[in-house]
C-alpha cells in the first residue's frame, strides 16, 4: 500500500513541470497515429514504410528543430533558419551544377557559411544584447535576398554523381519486411539523410543532458541573472548556442537539399515556423530554461502525421497543413501560458 502511494507520488513528481508537456505531446502523437491507422487503413497508413517516409520527408526539419530547441532553451529564438536552408540549397546547387565543384567541397563551404552566419547573429545577440527576434528577422530577409542574388531561376542538381548517390541511396532495414502483391519481399528503407538526422538528434540530446555546456544552456535560459552570479559566462554560452544553431541550420539545409536536389528562391519558406512549432509542441518553453530534443522529435512527428493525414485524404487543400499546425501551436502556447499562471499561483 505504502509502496503504491510512493509510486503514485513518484509518477506525479515525474509528470510535474516540463515532463507534463512532454507527456501530453507523446500521448497526442500516439493517439493521432492510432487514429490515422484506423481512419486511413486503406491508404496504407498502417504500413511501416509510411512511418519511415515521415522521417525521410522531415529529416531536415528534425535537425533544424534540434538547433531551434537549443536556442529556445537559452530564451532566444531564431527565425532565420528557413532562409538559411533555402540559401544553402541554392549555394549547393549553384556550386555543384554551375561551377562544377565537388560535392564534399560544396558541403564544407555551406557548413562554413552556416557557422559564420551563426557567429555574426550570435555576436549581435549575445555581445551587443540586441533582441534575437529583430536580428534573426533581418537575417531571414538577408538570406532570402542573397538566394535571389545567386539565381532567380531554379537550379536542379543533375550532374554531380556523388551528391545524387547520397540523395537516393536506399538503406534497407532488416526488420519489418512485407510481401507485396507480386510476391516480392520488400524491406523498409530509409535514406542517408535520416541517419544524419538521428545521429544529430542523439548528439544534441547528449550535449544538453551530460555536458557542461548543455547544463549552462538551461541555467542561462532559466535565469540569466543567477547564471551570471554562479559564474557562468552567459555571453559566451549564448554565442556558442547561436554558432551551433547556425551550423545545424546549414546541416539541415544540406539534408533538405538531399530530398529536393535543387535550389530555388522560394524554397523552405515557412520552415522556421515548422521548427518553432515542433519545438513548442514538444514541450520547449518559450520563456527559456525548459526543453528536450526528444520532445522536439515528437513535435516533428506530429507535424508529419498531420501532413500524412492531409495527403491520405487527398481532397483537402495543402493550405490546411499550415492552418492545422498553427492551431496546434496556438493550443500548446496557451497550454504553456496557463501552466505558468497555475505555477505562479501555487507559489503565492
Amino acid at each position: 500500500m505504502k509502496k503504491q502511494l510512493m509510486a503514485v507520488q513518484l509518477l506525479k513528481k515525474k509528470l510535474d513541470g516540463s515532463n507534463f508537456l512532454l507527456f501530453v505531446t507523446i500521448a497526442l502523437f500516439v493517439l493521432m497515429y492510432i487514429a490515422g491507422i484506423i481512419i486511413f487503413s486503406d491508404a496504407g497508413f498502417d504500413n511501416f514504410q509510411t512511418f519511415l517516409n515521415m522521417l525521410i520527408d522531415n529529416a531536415g526539419l528534425i535537425i533544424a528543430a534540434s538547433g531551434m530547441t537549443i536556442i529556445m532553451i537559452t530564451g532566444g529564438i531564431d527565425i532565420s533558419i528557413g532562409s538559411v536552408v533555402g540559401l544553402v540549397c541554392m549555394m549547393l546547387a549553384y556550386t555543384m551544377q554551375n561551377m562544377g565543384m565537388s560535392a564534399w567541397m560544396a558541403i564544407t563551404l555551406v557548413m562554413l557559411f552556416g557557422i559564420i552566419f551563426g557567429a555574426v547573429q550570435g555576436f549581435l545577440i549575445a555581445y551587443m544584447k540586441l533582441q534575437p527576434f529583430i536580428i534573426t528577422l533581418a537575417g531571414m530577409f538577408f538570406c532570402r535576398g542573397l538566394t535571389a542574388m545567386i539565381s532567380v531561376n531554379q537550379i536542379a542538381i543533375t550532374d554531380n554523381a556523388t551528391f545524387l548517390g547520397m540523395a537516393s541511396k536506399d538503406i534497407h532495414l532488416l526488420v519489418g519486411s512485407t510481401v507485396n502483391k507480386h510476391g516480392v519481399r520488400m524491406y523498409p528503407f530509409v535514406h542517408p539523410s535520416v541517419i544524419i538526422a538521428i545521429i544529430t538528434l542523439v548528439f544534441i540530446w547528449y550535449l544538453c543532458k551530460y555536458t557542461k555546456f548543455g547544463r549552462n544552456l538551461f541555467a542561462v535560459g532559466g535565469n540569466e541573472q543567477s547564471a551570471l552570479l554562479m559564474g557562468i559566462n552567459v555571453r559566451r554560452t549564448k554565442f556558442t548556442a547561436y554558432v551551433l544553431n547556425g551550423f545545424l541550420a546549414a546541416l539541415a539545409g544540406f539534408v533538405f537539399c538531399l530530398n529536393t536536389t535543387s535550389g530555388f528562391v522560394e524554397q523552405a519558406r515557412g520552415f522556421e515556423m515548422d521548427a518553432i512549432a515542433s519545438a513548442v509542441i514538444g514541450g520547449t518553453m518559450l520563456t527559456g530554461g525548459v526543453g528536450t530534443v526528444v520532445g522536439t522529435f515528437f513535435g516533428v512527428l506530429i507535424k508529419a502525421t498531420i501532413e500524412t493525414y492531409i495527403r491520405c485524404n487527398g481532397t483537402l487543400s495543402s493550405w490546411w497543413n499550415k492552418i492545422v499546425l498553427s492551431a496546434l501551436l496556438c493550443f500548446f502556447i496557451v497550454l504553456q501560458s496557463v501552466f505558468i499562471i497555475i505555477k505562479n499561483k501555487k507559489k503565492n
Binding site: K129, L286, T287, S326, V334
Partner: protein, 351 residues
C-alpha cells in the same frame, strides 16, 4: 528643454530622408519633376508618396504595438492578405454590379483586420505570450486563411487558392484616382488615418497611457491603468491598420493575390518604426517619426529599383539597414562608444 529634445528625436529620421532624396536625385536627375499626364499628377515624388501609403498606415499601427508591448507584430503582412481576400471575395467578380454594397465589403475588410488583431491582442495581453511568438501564429496561418478565402467556383466546385478579380471600375478609385482629382486617393486615406490617430492619441490621455504601459506595465497597473486593455487595444488598432492597408493594396491591383499582398511588409513596418527614432524596447513613441521613416523606406526602395536591383534582392539591403539602426540604438553600443570616448579623452588629458 523638452522642445529641443523633441526636435533632436526627429532630427535623425529627417536627415535620413533628406539623404535618401539626395541620393535619388543623383541617380535620376529628373527626380523632383512633377507633371500632369492624363489629368493626374505624375512624377517620382508622387509615386513614392503614393506607394508608401500602405507602409505609413502599417507603421502607425506598429508604432503603437511596439510602444505598448515592447514587441512587434509580425503578422501585419499576412493580415493584410486576409483582409484583402475578404473584401474581394465579398465584392464578387461580376462585370455589372457588386455582390454586396461596397461600404459593407470595406467594413468587413476592416473588421477582418481588427478581428485578427484582437486574436493577437488576446494572446499577448491576456496570456502574456511574447508578442512575436503570438503573432507568428497568424504570420503563417494568415496566408493559408487568405488562400482558403480566395475560393472561386470552377465547374460547380469551390476551389481555394485562386486569384480573384473585381471587375467594377469604381473599386479602383480607392487605390487609384477619383475622377477629377489629381492626387492619388491612398494619400488622402493615409493622411486622414495619421491625423485621426494623432488627435486620438495626443488630445486624449490614451497616448500617455500607452507610453506608461510600455515603460513599466506593473507601475501602470498600480496607478490604475488597465494595462491588459491598453495592450489589447493597440493590437486591435494595428490589425485595423493592416485591414486598411490590405484594402488599398487589393484596390491597386483590383484583385486579391494571397501570396503577394503585403509580402515582406512586416520588416518594412518594423524598419519604419526604428528609422523614425522609436525605440524597439517600447515606451515613448513618435508617430511623425514613423511616417517619415515609412516615406524614407519607399524612397530607398524606389532608388534601389532605379539602380536596377530586382524585387527579390531588395531584402538584403533592407536587412543590413535594420541591423545597423538597431545596433546604433542599442544600449550596449552606446556604452561601448561612451567608454571609447572617455578613454580617448583620458588619453588626450594624459598627453
Amino acid at each position: 528643454m523638452r522642445q529641443s529634445l523633441k526636435r533632436s528625436q526627429l532630427l535623425l529620421p529627417v536627415a535620413a530622408l533628406i539623404l535618401m532624396l539626395v541620393i535619388n536625385v543623383i541617380i535620376t536627375p529628373s527626380f523632383f519633376n512633377i507633371s500632369i499626364k492624363n489629368g493626374v499628377l505624375y512624377g517620382y515624388t508622387i509615386d513614392i508618396l503614393n506607394r508608401s501609403c500602405e507602409l505609413i498606415i502599417l507603421a502607425v499601427g506598429m508604432t503603437l504595438v511596439v510602444a505598448s508591448s515592447r514587441g512587434t507584430d509580425i503578422s501585419v503582412g499576412a493580415v493584410e492578405a486576409v483582409a484583402a481576400a475578404v473584401c474581394v471575395r465579398l465584392l464578387g467578380s461580376s462585370y455589372d454590379a457588386y455582390a454586396v454594397p461596397v461600404v459593407f465589403a470595406v467594413f468587413m475588410c476592416l473588421f477582418a483586420g481588427a478581428a485578427c488583431g484582437a486574436f493577437n491582442g488576446l494572446l499577448v495581453s491576456k496570456f502574456n505570450i511574447q508578442p512575436m511568438i503570438a503573432t507568428l501564429i497568424l504570420f503563417t496561418a494568415g496566408r493559408g486563411i487568405a488562400q482558403l478565402t480566395s475560393a472561386r467556383a470552377i465547374n460547380g466546385v469551390m476551389v481555394p487558392g485562386q486569384i480573384l478579380y473585381v471587375r467594377m471600375e469604381s473599386f479602383k478609385y480607392i487605390g487609384g484616382f477619383i475622377p477629377g482629382c489629381v492626387m492619388p486617393t491612398p494619400v488622402f486615406i493615409a493622411a486622414a488615418f495619421v491625423l485621426i490617430t494623432m488627435i486620438l492619441l495626443r488630445k486624449t490621455a490614451l497616448g500617455m497611457y500607452i507610453e506608461t504601459v510600455g515603460i513599466n506595465p506593473k507601475a501602470g497597473r498600480l496607478v490604475g491603468i488597465n494595462s491588459t486593455l491598453i495592450i489589447f487595444f493597440t493590437y486591435v488598432f494595428c490589425g485595423f491598420a493592416s485591414g486598411l492597408a490590405g484594402l488599398i493594396s487589393s484596390s491597386r491591383i483590383y484583385s486579391s493575390d494571397a501570396n503577394n499582398i503585403g509580402l515582406n511588409m512586416e520588416l518594412d513596418a518594423i524598419l519604419a518604426v526604428a528609422l523614425g527614432g522609436n525605440s524597439l524596447g517600447g515606451g515613448k513613441f513618435n508617430i511623425a517619426g514613423s511616417v517619415i521613416g515609412a516615406i524614407t523606406i519607399q524612397a530607398l526602395t524606389t532608388g534601389l529599383y532605379a539602380m536596377g536591383v530586382s524585387a527579390d534582392q531588395l531584402p538584403v539591403y533592407k536587412a543590413v539597414v535594420v541591423v545597423l539602426i538597431v545596433t546604433l540604438q542599442s544600449d550596449e553600443f552606446k556604452r561601448v562608444w561612451g567608454v571609447y570616448k572617455l578613454r580617448r579623452a583620458a588619453a588626450r588629458g594624459a598627453a
